[in-house]
């Protein structure tokens, strides 16, 4: 049972983890049995972080019922948390950067003068509770305290031979740019000790573990600041250049380094952090999540890992993500065959499942402005309309079934999945493989990929789905619990109706 430890640093790390969780919920193939996510962020009130946290909590609950011993691949990969926590909280009670380094309390006059030369007044007075606001020079000082953390110790304790590590970060922010090299350094430093002076468990294994990193280059800019923020997207490219020149020193210290970037940038509202920092999902984050799956795919071992006989890294593999066409609105047609094989079936099948349960995108009027939002619409809720009449649901999936906590969590993920797709569809560089407004069971995939079993004379639209549900129910192990049977059933049905091959 191999694990992949995924360290997501900062807001980008949290959003990539969210995309990864969505892919796993949809049943994308993962070469690891278990994913252990850890988010490192000083800004624990960050809305992106809390959205990812809630999603992962729901996923973990649904994963328990997804173990059907059948064909099911939805929520198939286990997600485990270290010490039951997602976020590696950095321990200290200081708020401003000058308090953290003790400028006014413990430093001599000479050291104070040195600090004043290295950091500007604004930087010294920076309130770090909402992150480092694009200052990796602060991050590299503050983040140098991983080894004292309980979650980090739990990481060492749980690490086994054969497990892998991957670090996800942005290169143009504050937390990510500083966090990645620091974390890599600690992971490969021998005999790291905790505050108690004891060496962290299994650290020898951690030092030599297969390790990868995903570095996300600028893919968005922010508008003018409104809350005293120091983030300035004019400096993103310069910071990227500076970080990239530093990352040359990571050569032969990482097995595989993925660079993910997008030239077509989106403009996000400017929020320095906290619960207002909530960026819409972007295709770049999905690409970064695909890089995680590429890293653990056993078929890529010969490309991703080059070690000598002493298990030292001989050379680093550098990878980028590419698409077939440089256009503003991407559909499945514009992805390479390899990417299509990974995501077409899982995303389409899970979306069909969510649509059957009534989730869809509707236009709503909000303060005079028309917006697209995700809702559960009674008229689209085929399950609610049909379960009273269909044999597959008879005495199994009754009206009370949806009140079951596991099923409510499943539907919560389905709703978030729809929102995730909608957010990517709204970006400047759109990822729009689906017509999210379509109410039909068959015509929701954009482009000319004909992968949904066509209507025949007898069964059209949602009747086709119900027919398949009634057919498949008898093939499922009767020993399965009802909620597990539900997931297994819908996986089999969506697999029978949607089958992309290339």
């Amino acid at each position: 049972m191999s694990k992949l430890y995924v360290f997501g640093i900062g807001g980008t790390g949290a959003r990539v983890l969210k995309s990864l969780t969505m892919l796993l919920a949809a049943g994308a193939d993962c070469g690891a049995d278990t994913i252990v996510p850890v988010i490192i962020d000083r800004d624990t009130s960050n809305k992106d972080l809390s959205r990812t946290e809630l999603l992962i909590e729901d996923y973990i609950i649904v994963n328990e019922i997804a173990k059907t011993n059948g064909k099911n691949r939805f929520f198939n990969t286990k997600i485990d948390l270290l010490n039951g926590e997602l976020c590696l909280k950095l321990i200290d009670n200081t708020q401003k950067f000058d308090e953290f380094i003790g400028r006014n309390s413990t430093m001599s006059q000479e050291n104070q003068a040195l600090v004043d030369m290295l950091f500007s007044k604004e930087t010294l007075k920076l309130d770090m509770t909402e992150g480092f606001q694009g200052n990796p020079n602060i991050g590299s000082v503050v983040l140098n305290q991983f080894d004292d953390n309980d979650v980090f110790k739990a990481f060492g304790t749980s690490f086994k031979d054969g497990d892998k590590i991957i670090i996800i970060s942005s290169i143009f922010g504050g937390t990510g740019a500083s966090g990645f090299p620091l974390l890599r350094k600690i992971l490969q430093t021998p005999n790291v000790k905790g505050v108690d002076g004891k060496e962290l468990d299994n650290w020898g294994l951690v030092n030599k573990a297969p390790i990868g990193a995903i570095s996300v280059l600028p893919y968005f800019i922010v508008g003018s600041p409104t809350d005293g923020s120091l983030v300035n997207s004019d400096t993103f490219i310069d910071k990227t250049r500076a970080a990239l020149s530093y990352y040359k020193t990571e050569d032969k210290k990482i097995d595989t380094l993925y660079y993910i970037a997008d030239k077509l940038t989106t403009i996000y509202e400017h929020h320095k952090g906290g619960d207002t920092q909530k960026n819409d999902a972007h295709f770049v984050e999905l690409s970064a999540a695909l890089a995680v799956l590429d890293f653990v795919n056993p078929e890529n071992n010969s490309k991703n890992f080059h070690r000598d006989t002493k298990n030292n890294i001989e050379r680093t593999t550098y990878k980028e993500f590419g698409i077939n066409a440089n256009i503003q609105k991407l559909s499945f047609n514009n992805l390479t065959d390899e990417t299509k094989r990974l995501i077409v079936n899982p995303l389409s099948r899970f979306l069909l499942f969510a649509k059957y349960m009534g989730y869809t995108v509707v236009k709503e009027n909000n303060n005079g402005k028309e917006e697209l939002v995700v809702r559960n619409v009674e008229n689209n809720d085929i399950f609610e309309k049909e379960h009273k009449f269909q044999p597959y649901a008879h005495k199994r999936f009754t009206s009370d079934f949806r009140k079951n906590n596991n099923i409510q969590k499943l539907e919560s993920v389905q709703e978030k999945f729809f929102e995730w797709l909608l957010e990517m569809d709204k970006q400047e560089h759109k990822f729009s493989p689906f017509n999210l407004l379509a109410s039909s069971a068959t015509d929701f995939i954009e482009g000319d990929l004909k992968i949904v079993k066509p209507d025949n004379l007898k069964y059209k639209n949602w009747a086709k789905v119900d027919n398949e549900l009634n057919r498949q129910i008898h093939k499922i192990d009767k020993a399965c619990e009802n909620d597990s049977r539900f997931i297994e059933l819908f996986y089999r049905v969506t697999e029978a109706l949607i089958n992309y091959k290339n």
């Binding site: 009273k388 009449f389 269909q390 008879h394 009747a463 119900d466 027919n467 009634n470 057919r471």
Partner: protein
């Protein structure tokens, strides 16, 4: 096949004893001379009920037609087909002169050459009896449809819980 005849006999008050005796295959003295028309009509009736049942549960077998009123429609169709078949069969016999006068008139006379004819004005078998027989045929067909439903619907993929979910 006396079972089929017995079933039709339960409803003979509806369509008249005379018609019943004729369809049974009896002569004017109550002796069986054949053919047993109930056998013919009965087998057609059972065949149609079975076909409509199979069409609903196994040929159409549609997840959008598994409400009780869809089943009710096919039940009604079974009845209607057999109503017209029952009527048509007896009507053709009545108006084709196939039914002996002893069953169609209350008073009969014999001609010099020995042939029997009914006295005008004493008719006892009318077209309305044919409709009544059609109705009886429909009722029996509906009963068979219901029996087939509850005996053999369980293998239908989409309709096995129709009409009672």
């Amino acid at each position: 096949m006396s079972i089929i005849r017995n079933i039709y006999s339960w409803l003979s008050p509806m369509y008249g004893n005379e018609l019943y005796e004729y369809l049974k295959g009896n002569d004017c003295d109550g002796v069986f001379i054949g053919p047993d028309h109930f056998l013919t009509i009965g087998l057609i009736m059972i065949g149609i009920s079975l076909l409509v049942f199979i069409a609903y549960y196994y040929l159409i077998n549609h997840p959008r037609y598994n409400r009780w009123y869809h089943w009710g429609t096919f039940l009604f169709l079974t009845g209607i087909f057999n109503l017209f078949i029952g009527f048509g069969y007896t009507y053709s016999k009545l108006n084709g002169g196939n039914i002996p006068a002893c069953f169609t008139y209350s008073q009969i006379e014999a001609t010099d050459d020995g042939s029997i004819f009914g006295v005008d004005g004493t008719e006892i078998l009318f077209n309305s009896n044919c409709w009544q027989f059609g109705l009886a045929n429909a009722i029996i067909a509906i009963a068979f449809f219901i029996i087939f439903t509850f005996a053999f619907k369980w293998w239908s993929r989409n309709c096995k819980h129709s009409p009672l979910f």
